[in-house]
Symmetry: C2
Subunit: 381 residues, 2 copies
């Protein structure tokens, strides 16, 4: 037997992170309630004690109330379900709404998992062109163009349209209401991927014109993943949430059951805090923090790309001054300097282009980050 | 806003469970190391700090070593991957190996999720007949019959064959080697669903003749779910693990990434203990405990269905004496009496037919259960 068992067992997580700017992580940091829930519900199948065959129907703990009352209202959709993640929610919509070989139109800023989900569903993908640097905007005009091109080349409308709101690269919030309007004028069902919106900012699927929404628990709802949420309109629910003919309680696209145990219970545990932070007055403060951070960063010679003034905590920066230093010193100098200051979130080796998130960090710690970047510049210039 | 936030936040889990016989739960109870790992890695995306684009390639923590070295050897397969659960592993195999409308042959004891996965993949299902009560055996002869029937009615071999080993109802271990042999004689790829085997008992996919295996982390590997494992032979790996043409690090059937965070880290944390318990000498003791429990239970007038003598910790019982009492008292009397004794695992309301698992409970506590059933019988008769 050649397995080296010493490698496994309990493993420490040793990255310092007094300040965390990682866009993947800021919205997923567990609340104290979620940390408690982890221990309480960590065992496999912990929520299944009173399950009659459907996760969403479990009354104790109150998963039924969460899925059928709180979540549809929170998402602004008629129906809601729990999935294993945003990408699994997107695939469920694509797989149930489309046939193999159908066309899907999606924004050119879409997350890779949207493309991979469409490829897994064996769809043809038409990307909506984004505007050139430095803004990378997705406009309704370009959506229309993409749809027209599909119609022209295939003779029919795309089977589905998708928008990433905001996208995960630039944190751009496209004009979703205009886009949903023109998509619907062609009778095309419309999916809004809100993995970076739902749980961070005010969000209402119906107001945006979405027929489906996907969200991420571990990305933006302070839940221990993998877990996601899916919202569906009454019109399309029978198709997306179709039940098995042989097992009448089981929904096909969810394979009968999804995120049970610690994942759903941490989502429930964090929900009051997540609900609170998405209120307009709190989100407005987050947006102001992001804008302040962006202006401070730009005063150091970095450039923020994407929407400006910015409307989201996720931002993309170009750091040519730091890149120039990395060419003289080594490419890891910035990572090393930040790590020494317990500032986490910019990937090792990046200087020229990187993204960060200011969500929940607060003005004081953001000031510490700005000071750190000043110090590092002074040290190496 | 009508959401009642008071329902959420931290919720206690109040079922007493000094002794746990729940077949869903005995193999998923976390080890102390996994409980530690939960707290350490509970945040969303905790394992992604050093990720270059593929979960299975992460060197720190040692996910790469686990997925590419330990797991293939543990499963007895050429390749292995982490999935969101056994059902997701099965769907990945079905979806990649079959076209819509193809036929799959599976045992008549298959878990509902196998049928639902095949239905989601839009396959036709041919069930292998099981022998009548009380044994419910799946025999190679009946497998052959099912395959022949598909060939007869469609003119070609099924696209895939699947066996549940053991099944989740009776804990029956079919003659998998014989079945794999005859399946392969017809050139049919063979999937073994080992959700109740992998992590509990000695298991080697190649020795069993499996081209694919699926296992469950939260069911049988003491991991906080949802998480599963997928094993694939070299022959079929290019198809099941096909990568995206646009995103070369991302595997289509895994949608690019699966169980990250606490789920994979609790699996790593429990792995040394799980590896230990699957050694033949430990498993033999579990089988002896199960057989002893079965004989004690039968001496109280219950009947064990399925393989006899039994070869697995999961057992199905018929409890007519308890059913008769429930008709006079009320259907919840047994659940109530067991709950008062902190014995968990028989679903509320069941008396006539129920399943239990003796895995890891130990002879002493199993004796407490036997005594409890005796007391309850005496009390009500």
């Amino acid at each position: 037997m050649s397995i080296n068992l010493d490698k496994y067992g309990f493993i420490k997580r040793d990255t310092p992170r007094d300040i965390n700017l990682d866009p993947l992580q800021t919205g997923g940091i567990l609340t104290p309630e979620a940390r408690q829930a982890l221990q309480e519900w960590g065992d496999g199948y912990s929520v299944c004690d009173y399950c009659g065959g459907s996760l969403d129907q479990i009354k104790t703990p109150p998963i039924f109330d969460f899925v059928h009352k709180a979540l549809p209202e929170f998402l602004g959709t008629d129906q809601a379900r729990i999935t294993n993640g945003a990408r699994e929610a997107k695939f469920a919509v694509m797989h149930s709404m489309c046939k193999e070989g159908d066309w899907i139109v999606m924004d050119g800023n879409a997350h890779y998992s949207s493309l991979v989900a469409a490829q897994r569903a064996r769809l043809n993908i038409k990307l909506v062109a984004k505007s050139p640097a430095p803004e990378y905007l997705i406009t309704p005009e370009k959506y229309l163009e993409a749809i027209e091109e599909v119609k022209h080349s295939t003779g029919k409308s795309p089977a589905l349209a998708m928008l990433t709101y905001p996208d995960g690269n630039y944190g751009n919030l496209a004009n979703v209401k205009e886009i949903s309007k023109l998509v619907h004028e062609d009778g095309i069902p419309f999916l809004v991927n809100g993995a970076y919106a739902i749980g961070r900012m005010p969000f209402n699927g119906k107001e945006l014109g979405a027929d489906f929404v996907s969200g991420s628990g571990h990305k933006s709802m302070a839940a221990s993943g993998p877990i996601g949420v899916l919202g569906v309109s009454e019109q399309y629910a029978p198709r997306v949430l179709e039940k098995s003919k042989t097992h009448k309680a089981k929904e096909l696209e969810l394979l009968g059951c999804t995120a049970r145990g610690a994942t759903i219970m941490t989502m429930l545990a964090s929900f009051p805090a997540v609900y609170e932070r998405t209120k307009p007055e709190h989100w407005q403060r987050e947006v102001e923090d992001a804008r302040w951070f962006s202006s401070q960063f730009e005063s150091l010679g970095l450039t923020q790309l994407g929407d400006k003034p910015h409307n989201h905590d996720l931002m993309f920066f170009e750091g040519m001054r730091f890149y120039d230093i990395s060419q003289k010193i080594d490419r890891y100098f910035l990572y090393r300097e930040l790590k020494a200051r317990s500032i986490h979130g910019i990937k090792p080796g990046l200087t020229k282009n990187f993204k960060i998130s200011t969500l929940g960090v607060g003005r004081e710690k953001l000031g510490v980050v700005i000071d750190a970047f000043k110090e590092i510049l002074n040290k190496y210039q």
